[in-house]
């Protein structure tokens, strides 16, 4: 595999970035919003993305992508703040950060822990985008060689990975398939009107942005409203700027852990549906097993924080590689970025990359800069965001709900947006109560159109004969991977049921 960087496109990307100042101004607000979303447990970057999509709607493509990826980058460190200070992970991405981060706080080393997390987050983000830059050409080139049958199976496989990650295979599948069906509401490829109930607003389909606002922001508020504070009974430990800087320096005493965590995160981030929620645990476990004295892990070992945070932040670059090269969103975060493509009438994937390398390189370069900006913004605002764990919900919930409904109006320009957000908010709350995967429904909703088009193209080329598939080795491999995903999930469930019965 060659490391190819198109130098001409890179030059154009630099021209693109230096010619406009507006996209640069969006980095700091994006990082602050990301930090805010990550630092408030239960709120999460998904909800923040959903609320901010209307803003992206009014920006050009490059600016919108920079703004949204800044939120992504900020949340990479934001989720570590409550994990370290009060043992509550900001999201699933920072579960492993609590293992050593909170013991460090109990030992009075919370400043060092935050410094370690900040340095590891910045380093992981930067490394993951360098990896993206190095491999996107090869991956996109390989994807371009695939036919519609292979693309159909790639999209199906990606969706199935997300569906089976939720824990219960059947519930994940049900959510994913419902999303696929919802995506096809409106005019079909042959101009047939389906499932609109005669409502003109539905002729263009269900507003995916309003649905995401409902599923992530509104439903989270219905859940969060039953506590007085975002985190009950917690009092964050005091912070000192100088000692946070000591923590930053300490992180670079573990270069192998930093690099290994970043590489693991980028690799796992490639897989749809897995990303940061698994990479932090995997990297932590690897660091523990590789350490000469693994017993220190769980007792406040700095390497534990470094391993977890470098991996969860570098997952961003990995998932961006899947989005840009394959056109498949790997989870809630990249699903929102995928929507930015749709807002600009752009279909993500290898063809977009081949025709707009300068834009993709500009996004990547800007994200490497974002990693540096996160260091400054994170250091300056960590005091403020550490106080957010005591945010009173009686102010937060009404405000977020009102903004969510108004934002969904801003996207659609009609009342169909708020109605969609309300309906999906209640649905998301119900799904959350019963363990159905909301990301699976969203990804189904976003990929349904593409899946239908690829299925139809495959049918037209093959004439409906299954033999066509048998003559395409890559399609067969993908089919085996698809079946293996379901089989593995079914076996896992059977083992879990067996263990519970015993």
């Amino acid at each position: 595999m060659d490391w190819i960087i198109d130098t001409a496109a890179m030059g154009q990307a630099m021209d693109l970035l230096s010619a406009q100042w507006a996209p640069w101004l969006l980095i700091v607000p994006g990082l602050l919003l990301g930090l805010l979303a990550g630092a408030v447990p239960g709120f999460g970057p998904g909800a923040m993305f959903a609320i901010m999509l209307p803003v992206a709607y009014h920006l050009d493509f490059l600016s919108a992508m920079i703004f949204m990826t800044s939120i992504f980058t900020g949340s990479g460190f934001g989720v570590a703040i409550p994990a370290i200070l009060i043992n509550v992970p900001g999201s699933a991405a920072s579960v492993a950060t609590t293992f050593d981060g909170f013991p460090m706080t109990r030992q009075g080393r919370q400043n060092e822990a935050l410094g370690l997390a900040l340095a590891a987050s910045c380093f992981g983000t930067a490394v993951s985008y360098v990896i993206l830059l190095a491999f996107i050409d090869n991956l996109a080139g390989a994807v371009l060689a695939l036919g519609p049958a292979e693309m159909l199976l790639v999209v199906f496989w990606g969706l199935s990975l997300i569906a089976v990650m939720g824990g219960d295979l059947l519930k994940g599948l049900m959510a994913g398939m419902t999303g696929l069906l919802l995506a096809t509401i409106g005019f079909g490829l042959m101009g047939t009107e389906r499932g609109t109930l005669g409502i003109p607003h539905l002729l263009d389909g269900v507003s995916s942005i309003s649905a995401m606002v409902g599923l992530f922001a509104v439903s989270e508020m219905f859940r969060l409203m039953h506590t007085d504070y975002v985190v009950e009974g917690s009092k964050p430990a005091p912070l000192e700027f100088r000692r946070i800087l000591d923590g930053v320096r300490l992180a670079f005493r573990y270069p192998v852990t930093l690099l290994r965590g970043s590489a693991i995160g980028a690799m796992i981030g490639l897989l749809p549906g897995v990303g940061a929620s698994l990479s932090n645990l995997f990297s932590y476990d690897w660091a523990r097993r590789a350490a000469p004295d693994p017993d220190r892990f769980g007792q406040g070992a700095p390497e534990g924080v470094v391993a977890a945070e470098s991996a969860n932040s570098s997952s961003e670059g990995g998932s961006m590689l899947t989005l840009l090269a394959l056109g498949i969103p790997g989870g809630a975060g990249t699903a929102m970025l995928y929507t930015v493509f749709a807002l600009n009438d752009i279909t993500g994937g290898p063809r977009f990359y081949a025709e707009n390398k300068d834009v993709v390189y500009a996004i990547v370069l800007n994200n490497i800069v974002q990693a540096g900006a996160l260091f400054v913004v994170g250091l300056a605002c960590v005091h403020l965001f550490s106080a957010l764990v005591r945010a009173p919900t009686r102010y937060l919930v009404p405000g977020v709900l009102a903004v969510s409904i108004s934002a969904s109006y801003a996207v659609t320009g009609s009342m169909i947006g708020p109605i969609t957000a309300l309906v999906f908010g209640v649905l998301g709350w119900m799904m959350d109560r019963h363990g159905y995967s909301r990301p699976a429904l969203v990804v189904g909703l976003l990929l349904g159109d593409q899946l239908e088009a690829e299925a139809l193209r495959t049918f037209q080329i093959s004439g409906g004969s299954f033999d066509y598939l048998l003559g395409r080795p890559i399609a067969l491999v993908l089919l085996v991977l698809l079946l293996a995903t379901f089989l593995r999930a079914a076996m896992r469930r059977r083992r879990a049921t067996g263990a519970a019965a015993r």
Partner: protein, 155 residues
């Protein structure tokens, strides 16, 4: 026959069986609707296989739930009133506009969340509404029929 107790009705409506049934019913209705619209391979190439698989999965989930019911969970108090308040906000928006709508919703929702002091309630709702309308107004033109009517009546 007496009507079910509201709390029991809440448990029933938000049960796993209700959710699985609702999703299955949607898939069945949508498959039928698409079939009736045009029963051709081109129209149903994705909807038919996915719809049938979804219906079978939904039925399986419902049977599984009936055979081994999950522990019933009552929705926490305040959830339904908040949903009703949000629905009222959405319904009122075209009539009163965003400024009045957001103000009334934030007022009602903050009261529901336990904010008791009337000065705090009104101050927070007014400040939040001003900030939200000004910021949202930068990206979209928000309809304000109540304000338009007010100024119209004053002329």
């Amino acid at each position: 026959m007496s009507a079910p107790h509201p709390r029991r009705l809440g448990v029933l409506l938000t049960s796993h069986l209700a959710l699985a049934g609702m999703l299955t019913a949607f898939c069945a209705w949508y498959l039928t609707d698409a079939w009736l619209a045009r029963a051709s391979v081109h129209n149903l190439i994705l909807i038919a296989p996915v719809g049938i698989a979804a219906i079978l999965t939904g039925l399986w989930l419902m049977v599984r739930e009936l055979r081994a019911p999950s522990v019933p969970k009552a929705p926490q108090p305040g959830t339904f009133p908040m949903m009703a308040l949000l629905a009222g906000f959405v319904a009122l928006l075209p009539l009163v506009g965003f400024s009045a709508g957001i103000f009334l919703f934030v007022l009602g929702a903050s009261r529901l969340m336990g904010l008791r002091n009337p000065v705090s309630l009104i101050l927070y709702a007014a400040l939040f509404t001003t900030a939200a309308v000004l910021l949202l107004g930068l990206v979209v033109r928000l309809p304000e029929p109540a304000i338009a009517a007010w100024f119209g009546a004053g002329r």
